[in-house]
Symmetry: D2
Subunit: 144 residues, 4 copies
């Protein structure tokens, strides 16, 4: 089967925190994962599959890789809009993120993470996402 | 029994990290717990009771309160010496911390944390530290 | 002058993050300062005195001490309500925090921070809060 | 001129912290930047160009992108060896990181960051690294 396209996305707006900024006055590059985490939480809740659901389903979903392109520095105490979109799901969950300046709409950051299913009993990595993912995503399938 | 005095302490020297500093160029006040955590880890290893040992022993040791007095701001990329000393153990583990400027010896921070035993089966808080603590501390008991 | 009483408080509700939890599945004790930071930001915005305003006013406001009483462990992915109240201002800004379980209303945490003004030119600590604080707080003064 | 090859690397060994682990008991994926930060600090000190030197030199060096491949989960309280190597410098500083299990030698993580010079006066990004970088790297140049 060819990877069925889905239309699943989430977004949120927040004000960046003083404590996430570094001495240059901008968000430290490692702290962007806080933003990704928060919007991915909203994304996964849309398909009723948060961290607790994952554990109950018998699968952990470790991140296998991540990429961030820091287009523009993000000051602290700055309003940003963060979007997440599921762009792949058959063998891994790939989520793409974009951060915008909430006021100007300017794109500040792009990035992605990929997660694979790990069977918590056998501790084996799954080469394909378990069927439950397909079931959960079905309401979000779109015609290509 | 009166609380038997112990002489158990640990220390370490490190260089503060850029990412733990805030836009004022000094370590963010919430990040001092990183320093306390690291030196408490060394302290607990002296009695062979690290986090994994705790879990195996059937007790969790949540922190019940913490206090920090920020005497002098700590810049990033600054060498500090952190000390920890166990100052109470019968009903809870109280650890006192002092941070010094590693070069001048000047005291920069004082603080403490207290942890109580929680029986992981019953999830009940223990009113007294379990006997295993006394056994582990015995080599460090001192005459009053 | 006797310390004029003020009625200035703020609150917010949020869902705790996976990444702020530790291997015991509950928010790491050092991460509570994230919650305090966020609600204090809202508190200070009520008197138009955020971090940028502080710097413009010529004063830094380092935290001089902090206390946290961890009454009940806070799980990750858990909705909490955080309140902040200014309880002293004449010589330092003392803010008291309470964290509640957003669903049951149960109190989970108490704490406070104190901040003093530091003149950014002289780098001297101010023994009394500068006059601008009194001016900003005036709308929040209450009859004793 | 063709990019002159350099042989500049650094490494360190540390024990992972409880507080950097998530509820799955392994280091949270966003916290790996702590490891990269620490070893990059050592790398940059070899050429006498730490954060303070950067600011004095008139250049900020924001990270423009980062990639992490999480090969094996890293438990907390686990000894790891982190290496950093400068693999490009003419237009940006590219640093490659590898994390090894300190006991088995097994590779656990790979990643890189790239940083570009930004002139702090004009706030303009530099298309080529400023000459001072070449001077600092000269002792580390190698024959191709």
């Amino acid at each position: 089967m060819i990877n069925q396209e889905v239309d699943l996305s989430a977004e949120l707006t927040l004000i960046t925190s003083f404590q996430d900024a570094d001495p240059m006055g901008v968000i430290y590059h490692g702290n962007y994962f806080r933003f990704f985490e928060e919007v991915r939480r909203l994304l996964m809740e849309k398909i009723n599959y948060n961290y607790r659901d994952m554990i109950e389903s018998g699968y952990a979903w470790p991140v296998i890789d991540s990429y961030v392109k820091y287009v523009r520095a993000i000051p602290f105490n700055h309003e940003i809009r963060i979007t997440a979109k599921l762009t792949d799901w058959e063998n891994y969950l790939r989520v793409e993120y974009v951060i915008y300046d909430a006021n100007t709409g300017q794109r500040m950051t792009k990035g992605y993470t990929r997660q694979v299913a790990v069977d918590m009993k056998t501790e084996e990595m799954c080469f394909a996402s378990p069927d439950l993912i397909k079931d959960k995503l079905e309401p979000y399938f779109v015609e290509k």
